[in-house]
Symmetry: C2
Subunit: 459 residues, 2 copies
């Protein structure tokens, strides 16, 4: 089997999908009573075209006939054509069921067909959105869950509720920028917990930071918000210990699961989380922007407070709408992709150890290339890893006419994408979702590139 | 042509799309070097199945073989099988190009393939997101635009910037609940402008309300936020006059274009808007949640202020990230659906008069059914209309064993959905996007149902 065959087959798969979307448009433009003779002719012409595409798809023949969407957008086929090691894309790739749901529920307000009193997203039972909310909460071992337009909007709802102007919020020295913004947006001030020598946020350091903030400001921090695995190294931080410390001081604790919820089991109550935040497009195989905000019963009345605003003139009230959610949150394809991926997301979380094993398999092979280092904690506990190739691939870049891009070129010619183009010193990659064969292929490719450029590889 | 043929063809269209998504998964799970013999066999088996589906699709034969997505979700085929008159769904239906873009860009962070310094969504040039932002602003005749997770998140960014605790915000007596929530979330208080006898918000009434608020509170309102067409009647309010009044008092003016941006031309500067907010999933043929917040240069530094938060320990700064946007907003399929629909959305906005003509055609026919009333302003200036059938279809419901649901049953058996099930007194419908034949069919169906139940219909 040759690469060009794959490539044209992938192209023809998209062309067939697109042709079917055009057929779908014929139904949308017709009367419910059926096609007119002209419409039937148009339909037959489309299906004839479709059959040709499928013949090419099967045989791996033909030439690309559609290269742009809406005249300007390229077909994005990197997940089909390549192994994608992009640090933040790996666990957000849609499952096949999510892609089907999206085809079916992509239209704007597609969730609202059977919206009835009391008119709120999480109460809709057809499709089973209400049930999904309950399952989400249960799965995270929390009491109540809401879907939100990205983890950041979950942070915002919590800081908007708990943080007053000038309040301190404890975050990690590796906190994601969206945590900074959510605190700033609420008028708060971030206070970072230092890392230990292994780039880990410990419970002890968190307690010390809380003490320090209390000494400095005379006030308890309003919130502790810590990432279980951070975005830089994907090191595991002492999350349960930190939860315990927060509670000892009586400070609510937000568990940032952007890199955990959807890929590994998360037990909110065991961790001692008051809030669990996850990201749909980062780790739950969902369309962006999507995410989850789960909480304990204790915090729901405040965080999910319903509106108390009354129109001064009309006396209108929209009593069931939640202020921090701004009413409904994910009213269509975003939510349905989360829901359709959810069974697989639950199942795959239970197989996290396999993912970690593959991550370590790759890193073991990678470290055999002399001068290559893993900057994240090692052995790996996650599939996202920060590496340093200053002593290996970068030594080639220094004299190569394409500089660091030679490395991207080599990866690409091996069918690998997602590295930060041109970077050959410190960079990140993610092996999440690759199967055994793909991870071995990936490691082989790195070895081959090293050998091609004369970098010593330990056998 | 018979309805069952249509129905099975639509079913087979979905089955073919789904089969292709499963074929896509084979590529995703394979190596870039090509299929193994086992994979090739699996592929051949899938394409064989696909060809059978397409034979059924063409002939209109066969039986449904896939009825659920992810085991629980029904296939949503109401846009293909029915004429959908749902009040809020009409203009959010995806264009064919948006559906193609979504197939291609549905995966989580699909926008981030070529994200480079300075790492912000609106700066990405591949795909052309930066250019899209510029075009959006220009199209609305505003200076700067951002995409947001729904119009409500646009309101929130503005109230979060301009409204301090206790500030008054002028809204309409027909303001949407999300405006209430956005004001409440910022700590403000809504002050409603009364309607005139025709249910219109006038410039004069707005001026009087501002005066009243100033007398009562001793302070200028912080913001005037008015819907061009409201969600209840879709009446046109004196938006340009209101913009002028707001400016005379020196109050910033937010134009709520949830029912205009994407269906009719909107010229922000001509209107005198400081902010224009539109909804992607309501009126721009886009996946939810999506929307646009556009503004004049004057308001950008404040509303789009970048973060000033510095990590106390690490001294980290994320200088280019915008606080109210929380960094990037629509990082995948939502945005790409907006972008793919945009050329058609621009073109269709120029044909708004045709849509209004069809809306009036339907309402003329509807009013011939004795006892049927249009509660919205008439003749219609919009495709969304509130009607009162207390004197017509409700007279039947009073004695029918299915009560108001008889009417839903009748509509459904004519291939029409989207009415509020069971409602036969006051309810809303939207004819947006229906072509001439479909609108005539819709009017004929109403007439036929009336005649069937002996309601007098004027010839």
């Amino acid at each position: 089997m040759e690469v060009p065959t794959m490539s044209i087959r992938i192209q023809k798969t998209f062309e067939a999908l697109f042709a079917l979307e055009e057929i779908r448009s014929l139904f949308r433009e017709s009367l419910p009573s059926g096609f007119s003779p002209e419409e039937e002719t148009a339909f037959r012409s489309k299906t004839a075209g479709l059959k040709e595409i499928i013949a090419d798809l099967e045989a791996g023949t033909g030439v690309p006939k559609v290269t742009k969407i809406a005249g300007t957008l390229d077909i994005r086929s990197r997940e089909e054509e390549y192994i994608n090691i992009h640090p933040i894309q790996a666990a957000g790739r849609l499952t096949a069921e999510a892609r089907k749901a999206l085809i079916s529920y992509g239209d704007g307000y597609s969730t609202c067909d059977a919206c009835r009193k009391p008119f709120r997203l999480d109460k809709i039972s057809r499709p089973g959105i209400a049930e999904f909310h309950e399952e989400l909460a249960k799965w995270l071992n929390m009491d109540i869950a809401r879907v939100v337009p990205g983890a950041r909007r979950g942070f915002q709802a919590v800081t908007g509720t708990l943080v007053e102007k000038g309040d301190s919020v404890i975050v990690s020295a590796l906190a994601h920028y969206t945590e900074f913004l959510a605190v700033e947006n609420a008028g708060g001030i971030v206070k970072e917990v230092p890392l230990n020598g292994e780039n880990i946020v410990t419970a002890e350091a968190t307690a010390q930071k809380i003490e320090e903030v209390m000494r400095e400001t005379g006030k308890l921090p309003a919130l502790v918000m810590i990432d279980h695995f951070d975005y830089q190294f994907a090191n595991e931080h002492e999350i349960a210990g930190i939860g315990k410390v927060a509670h000892e001081y009586g400070i609510p604790f937000l568990y940032n699961g952007a890199y955990t919820v959807g890929v590994m089991p998360v037990d909110g109550k065991k961790i001692g989380a008051d809030f669990v935040v996850g990201s749909g497009h980062k780790s739950m195989a969902s369309v962006a922007p999507s995410g989850v905000l789960a909480m304990t019963e204790e915090w729901a009345p405040e965080t999910l407070r319903t509106t108390t605003m009354t129109g001064d003139l009309t006396k209108r009230k929209f009593g069931i709408k939640e202020v921090e959610m701004l009413g409904c949150t994910l009213m269509g394809g975003t939510l349905l992709s989360m829901m359709a991926s959810f069974p697989e997301v639950q199942a795959r979380s239970l197989k996290w150890e396999d993912e970690v094993r593959r991550s370590n398999y790759f890193m073991d092979r990678f470290r055999k290339i002399a001068g290559s280092r893993v900057l994240s904690e090692y052995p790996r506990k996650h599939t996202l890893t920060k590496v340093d190739t200053t002593g290996s691939f970068d030594t080639v870049a220094r004299t190569h006419k394409r500089r660091g891009f030679y490395f991207s070129d080599e990866l690409s010619s091996h069918g690998i994408v997602g590295e930060f183009a041109g970077a050959t010193r410190t960079w990140k990659l993610n092996t999440y979702g690759l199967n055994d064969r793909q991870v071995r292929y990936l490691a082989d490719a790195f070895t081959e590139i090293a050998e091609k450029y004369g970098l010593p590889v330990e056998k």
